[in-house]
Amino acid sequence: MKIVGIVGSNADFSYNRILLNFIAKNFKKLIDVEVLDIKDVPMFNQSDDQTNSEAIQYLNKKIVEADGVIIATPEYNHSIPSALQSVLEWLSFKIHPLDGKPVMIVGASYDVQGSSRSQLHLRQILDAPGVNAVVMPGNEFLLGEVHKAFDENENLKDTQTTQFLEGCIKKFIRFINVVNIVESPEGMKDVSSTEDLNATGTIDTTIEGIDMKADDWVEQAAKATGAVEGDAYVKLNRGVLTVNQINHFLNSMPAELTYADSNNQFLYYNYKLEEDEMLASRNPAQVGSPLADCHPERAFSSVAWVIQQLRNGKEDVVRTKVPTHGPDKFVVHNYQAIRDADGNYLGINEYVQDIQPIIDWYLEQTGQLLTGGGVDAASGATTKVDTVSSATVKG
């Protein structure tokens, strides 16, 4: 599980940094924590938008990619430090990486109260609509009199404190799992049973008698059906092309294309790039596999939900943006229903595209400018885009 730990202090020497480093070191077996500093983030200013600065984009990317976030906050004047406040303002202004993200709060301070008041403020701030993080309730980890808490190797001296902290971390792991289910489209309801993701059935076009999971499924299936290839001509609606021409044609599409049939079997993708160069990775050996073998189990419910929307005719296309490719790309996964002339569901055409070049071209051609997320007057929250975030295919 990938966790980002944010040091809520910009001081050169910070006990909260030591605390996060201790968590990273001591609980390595449980979670993988990357500790991030906020020293380089400029002071927030509504009139001087620096959302695209390196320091903010770096934090943004790390948070988006993480399964959860631990924030370690000092207490300054009974509240959180301005440096942390400023970071949260940037992360709720034009971008919202903490939206729906599981967050755990810890804190160290000089007072015996150990940041109890700043933690309460932080909870209220994280709950504001522009931030909208999902903060783990209870489990306050307050480290008071912090100047006496660590030994010379920067380990917590008190074993009971360490044990309590371990309990909090374990609860946080469970909390992240629960949040992922709540944030999935159908909420707590697990809809994975509504779809046969293991493709155990057959449809008219299923090529039977071949192991779907075999690495050379394509070769075996082609042999069994006597499939044409190369320069053989195929009659299409409307036209005649050779198989090679069809391949070149599909590979020239400005998208990664995938065909999965109504039996939830992955039959085709326009193989032109290797796995690690693709926006949504696929590899040649996967073709023929049931969809269950192409997704991690935790995504089953979301995958099933998407297919249900298409199969039942509720939607013709379900779209989701995948923000993990950095600020210069806007990658969209489109799940488009394939239907016959009578509207019967035949399968999914998943096409994955970076639409940023198209947007840029449109703006250039029309001379229009993006105004960038207006502030919603009633709530102070900038508008957000809804996503079916966990429905993305992780190869």
Partner: protein, 202 residues
């Protein structure tokens, strides 16, 4: 006539809290001299080892010391006060502690309906911390909701009812300043204790 400092709690170029303080300055010109102070050019607080206030912070602190009272007008960011205002208060608490025992009145404007009520609650708690220890006037919320629509072209509040509410609070504040200064002067030992307070040597 009282001398007050008005602090605009934001670094935004177009601030309705700035409008509000300017209105207060104009509207009560016969009752008090109010000097409006910007914090937008103060450096971000970063806990310097020498505990020295940068020049701009010291200048603000000197003005606060000389003033009879301070009016802070704060926007609401994420149910709290903007980082730049927090940073200013961190400087004051960490260096010269100019706000100790200073009578303070709070106002706030925000775009939403609630008019920064949550920001004011946070601000009260912050100003009450031992290194700040300002004397905040109790029971005196003054909030402008939907602040973008609250002023006319001349920067005057349009709602007569709101103006009356403000007048009442301002009159209270003038009395509060006198009462507080009496209290503080008879309680000098308390002041010494507060001035010497430091989290790291407590």
């Amino acid at each position: 006539m009282k001398n007050f400092i008005g602090i605009i709690g934001t670094n935004s170029d177009n601030s309705t809290n700035r409008l509000l303080l300017q209105f207060i300055q104009k509207h009560f010109a016969d009752k008090a001299n109010i000097e409006i102070c910007e914090i937008k050019n103060l450096p971000a607080f970063n806990k310097p080892e020498d505990k020295k206030a940068p020049y701009e912070v010291q200048k603000l602190a000197d003005k606060i010391r000389k003033a009879d009272g301070v009016i802070i007008s704060s926007p609401e960011y994420n149910h709290s006060v903007p980082a730049i205002l927090k940073s200013t208060l961190e400087w004051l608490s960490y260096t010269n502690q100019a706000l100790i025992d200073k009578p303070v009145m709070l106002t706030g404007a925000s775009y939403g309906r609630l008019g920064s009520s949550r920001a004011q609650t946070h601000l009260r708690q912050i100003l009450d911390a031992p290194e700040l220890k300002a004397r905040i006037m109790p029971s005196s919320e003054f909030l402008i909701g939907y602040s973008l629509q609250a002023f006319d072209d001349n920067g005057n509040l349009t709602d007569q009812y709101k103006i009356e509410e403000l007048e009442q609070i301002f009159n209270d504040f003038i009395k509060f300043v006198d009462i507080t200064n009496q209290l503080v002067n008879t309680n000098d030992s308390h002041k010494k204790k507060a001035t010497n307070f430091s989290w790291e040597e407590n």
